[in-house]
């Protein structure tokens, strides 16, 4: 861990919040993709059946 001196709180919170936001947008996008994909597969199955 580098010595961040008196700005440790600022630097660590910038990294923490930014990385958290990036993870949230990736997870939300992936979750919606999976949900819509599943619903579409079910709808296509009903349409074919």
């Amino acid at each position: 861990m580098p010595d961040l001196g008196k700005y440790a709180v600022e630097v660590l919170s910038a990294y923490g919040v930014s990385i958290a936001l990036l993870i949230v947008i990736v997870l939300l996008s992936a979750a919606r993709a999976a949900r819509v994909g599943r619903q579409l597969a079910e709808a296509e199955e009903r349409a074919d059946g």
């Binding site: 961040l4 910038a14 990036l22 993709a33 709808a43 349409a47």
Partner: protein, 244 residues
């Protein structure tokens, strides 16, 4: 290969099926390498101390917040002129990613500004136009959600995107022609005298590549979802009509 081929949803799905995972994996590699390099293996700045490490998040996110809007502008113009549905859906897909990048840029800017400028926020040209861009992003997302008919929603959000582009450009160029702000000029420059030191420059380039690839990967993923959601909506409508 022509850009217009991707107006065909099947072509778009086939292309992104192959390249979306590549973009996402490369973005993860670039972000991990760039952020670890920048955080652990670069020195403090002689004036800014360790806060210079915020540059690896702030600059790429601010750059991509503006460029995401520019991409939405191009896609919106394609929709308005040529009525290709995939372009309208790509613009819609990009907006939440742009919101995230704008939020990161605003947050890291405030947290960097406090120790350096002595204030979290100043109503100066670049910061203010960036905040307005963020509000435009929120309005754009809300407008898509508020209108049921997808073509009407695409029309109105495209117009909103054209108007918001003024603030996207302002937030990029405000520092060049309004010399009254706190925010410094461009971090990256082709002029070696003005560009930042190489020790910060190279990890920053890796982080920028990571943010660009993440944006591309996420827009591919989200546009694929929008195309599928549209197909799902059509199937559900057909079911309802059949049952009625």
């Amino acid at each position: 290969m022509s850009l217009w081929e991707f107006a065909n949803p099947r072509r778009f799905m086939a292309f992104t099926d192959r390249w979306m995972p590549v973009a996402l994996v490369l973005s993860a590699i670039c972000l991990v390498v760039g952020l670890i390099w920048g955080f652990f293996f670069t020195p403090d700045d002689f004036r800014q101390g360790s806060t210079v490490k915020i540059i690896y998040l702030h600059v790429p996110s601010a750059m991509m917040a503006i460029n995401a809007w520019v991409m939405m502008l191009v896609a919106s113009l394609i929709w308005l002129i040529r009525r290709h549905h995939v372009s309208a859906l790509a613009a819609r897909a990009a907006a939440p990613v742009g919101v995230t990048f704008t939020l990161i840029a605003l947050f890291t800017g405030a947290i960097w500004g406090q120790p350096m400028w002595g204030t979290w926020w100043a109503w100066e040209p670049r910061l203010t136009s960036f905040l307005i861009l963020f509000l435009f992003y929120l309005g754009y997302v809300a407008l898509w959600e508020a209108i049921e008919d997808p073509d009407t929603a695409a029309d109105l959000t495209s117009i909103l995107c054209l108007v918001g582009s003024v603030f996207a450009l302002l937030s990029r160029y405000a520092v060049n022609f309004w010399n009254q702000g706190l925010h410094q000029g461009a971090t990256l420059s082709l002029d070696a005298e003005e560009n930042i030191s190489d020790v910060f420059y190279f990890p920053l380039l890796v982080c920028i590549a990571g943010f660009i690839l993440l944006f591309v990967g996420l827009v591919f993923m989200r546009t694929r979802t929008e195309i599928r959601a549209r197909r799902l909506h059509a199937l559900e409508l057909r079911e309802r009509m059949r049952d009625a």
